[in-house]
Symmetry: C2
Subunit: 358 residues, 2 copies
């Protein structure tokens, strides 16, 4: 059943006010709004109807109304008005986006921190493969007696490396040969295409370093199969700034216990499919500990083979319009940054790090 315009107006007003005050909204407050020309009594009647329809809730008989999850959902789907970032806001977002030459993983984590800071809520980022990855290039480097480093490049520009300790000694020449063999027979392969037959063939031609082959293959398969990158979740504690968790450390902790990287990567749509932005309102979350928590996720493009998601977690009462606008701005500019590829030095999209062990 369709809502009347007036009902929509009232619902929207209630969501807007409640989102910013975190207090139940009474009929008088609505009536006092400049663009509302009905008395509080009329509003009360409408509010009673909206409550009946399940769009509003009443914490107790003599309190104002707050939106129900269904109310939020309707607000998001139909009533939400585009929030326009103020000049100040875009300015600080722009400043925030000036990322230093960084490795990719670090950059993603940095972006998460920025988003969290700008929204004052917990935020996460993930990079996800769009198409299946294939192998691109192998490299083997001596790293000391009995240990070598395997460097593997994938089609999505991921570079992964692994230190391998060998029981047997191999020479530089052996490694060169093996690398040549690998590059000759294992280029542009998906995980499925790497089979026992291939493995055998490579082992046969690999010469002295053939003991390495299974290790190389294992690692390659592991990399190829990895669906999405690490989830970078930060700023969880910003939830505490929200009034719903004032003097409710217990509740907050319950949420924190559920809210970790694992939980994020199990979200029904770590990368939203339907559109660039997606909402999970309160009980739409799987975990019941998060029934009072919402997630806004926004997709952005990183090159051909990859895409990223940035998300924000907050109380169900949150400023969806504003958060969406901010995420959108981030997504758009990140996308641009990746697209144009960064002026050689600028947004350096590489990984790095690694590995000691003797």
């Amino acid at each position: 059943m369709e809502l009347t315009d007036r009902q929509k107006q009232i619902l929207r007003a209630i969501v807007d006010i409640y989102v910013s005050t975190a207090e139940p909204v009474g009929s008088k407050a609505i009536a006092a709004l400049p663009d509302v020309c009905y008395s509080s009594a009329t509003i009360r009647n409408e509010m009673a109807d909206l409550t009946q329809m399940g769009l509003l809730e009443q914490p107790h008989t003599s309190a104002g109304r707050i939106p129900s999850p269904a109310g939020y959902r309707l607000y998001i789907d139909e009533l939400m008005q585009d929030y326009r970032l103020s000049l100040d806001e875009t300015k600080s977002l722009n400043e925030a986006l000036e990322l230093k030459s960084q490795e990719f993983d670090k950059m993603m984590s940095q972006v998460g921190k920025l988003v969290s800071k700008m929204t004052d809520l917990p935020a996460y980022t993930v990079a996800t493969r769009r198409n299946e990855a294939v192998t691109k290039h192998f490299d083997l480097i001596m790293a000391g007696p009995g240990s070598i480093i395997l460097v593997l490049m994938l089609s999505d520009d991921q570079v992964r490396n692994k230190l391998i300790k060998l029981p047997v000694a191999v020479t530089e020449a052996d490694l060169k040969l093996l690398a040549a063999v690998l590059n000759a027979s294992m280029t542009d392969l998906t995980a499925e295409q790497i089979n026992a037959e291939l493995l055998e063939k490579i082992t046969r031609t690999a010469g002295a370093a053939s003991a390495l082959v299974p290790l190389v293959i294992d690692f390659t398969l592991e990399c190829l199969r990895q669906q999405h990158g690490d989830v970078h979740l930060t700023g969880q504690m910003r939830l505490l700034g929200q009034p719903e968790y004032k003097d409710a450390a217990e509740k907050a902790q319950e949420v924190f216990e559920t809210l970790d990287e694992d939980m994020i990567s199990n979200l029904p749509a770590v990368l939203p499919k339907d559109g660039p932005v997606q909402f999970l309102v309160g009980p739409e979350n799987v975990a019941k500990e998060l029934k009072d928590t919402s997630v806004v996720m926004m997709r952005f493009d990183i090159g051909e083979g990859m895409q990223g998601t940035i998300g924000v977690v907050g109380p169900t009462r949150m400023d969806y319009a504003k958060i969406t606008a901010k995420l959108g701005y981030f997504a758009e500019n990140l996308g641009k940054m990746f697209q144009k590829g960064g002026a050689a030095t600028q947004p350096a999209l590489t990984d790095g790090t690694d590995a000691s062990n003797k």
Copy 2:
């Protein structure tokens, strides 16, 4: 002025009890202990003395005593008894230590999570260079038209890589040449040894890809100069489980605002020098927001060139003995794991990740 044995016994008892109950300790509670054979009145007298000496504090006139920071410090330095891990505890620590083949950075972050989980407090890990690093090997890989990946290996087995976009086109052969030049003239160099003269010499011999040289050098210097790796801080919210933050979300948030990776890396001794373990008790912390917070840090060895630190952050009232024991166990076993180098496949100390961008 030296404490009498009885005073020591009482101080120890107060710390022990307070640490586990988080409630001020009264004279009766002490008198009731099995190995205390004095009446509560005697204890009261001693407690008054200890208070006068500044080792105990009284929240208000008619409350029991709690240890002052000085009291904790004395407890740590002189009174603390070795805590022995129970069989159950070592068992779960051992289970926790069964880390899957992982890249180094991820492993460090995982260890942090484990420590945090086992101590039920926020924890961090850092890896730090012990000696100066030198360059070991360069590698350049085509990553598509106009973009290449630079792979750099350092003496501490770090492998770092970076995607570089070039305005000019280069061929595979150009890259091969450049790589050969780099490896010929830039092996085993420290950051200082890389100077303008060297740069010029390389540029001269680098052929077609000489435009790349400054970028390579910059990145190399950046890597060589990096003193310590990323700080991995996790489990901050576990602080909320501590009674001091029950119903004190504000205070907790204040702490959280200060307690981040930056703060950790500015700790006076990210890696303790004096001994494997070090304590920062309450106000010994620099930041005044952390005046009620203590840090326990424990060093462990990773191979020749590197060492790691694991640390735990908690309320000043914390079980220093137990935490130290647990950290010690972790450190010892991590050390072993790195030392023996992992059976080729096991603790895989590599990095990985990287970098898309088109």
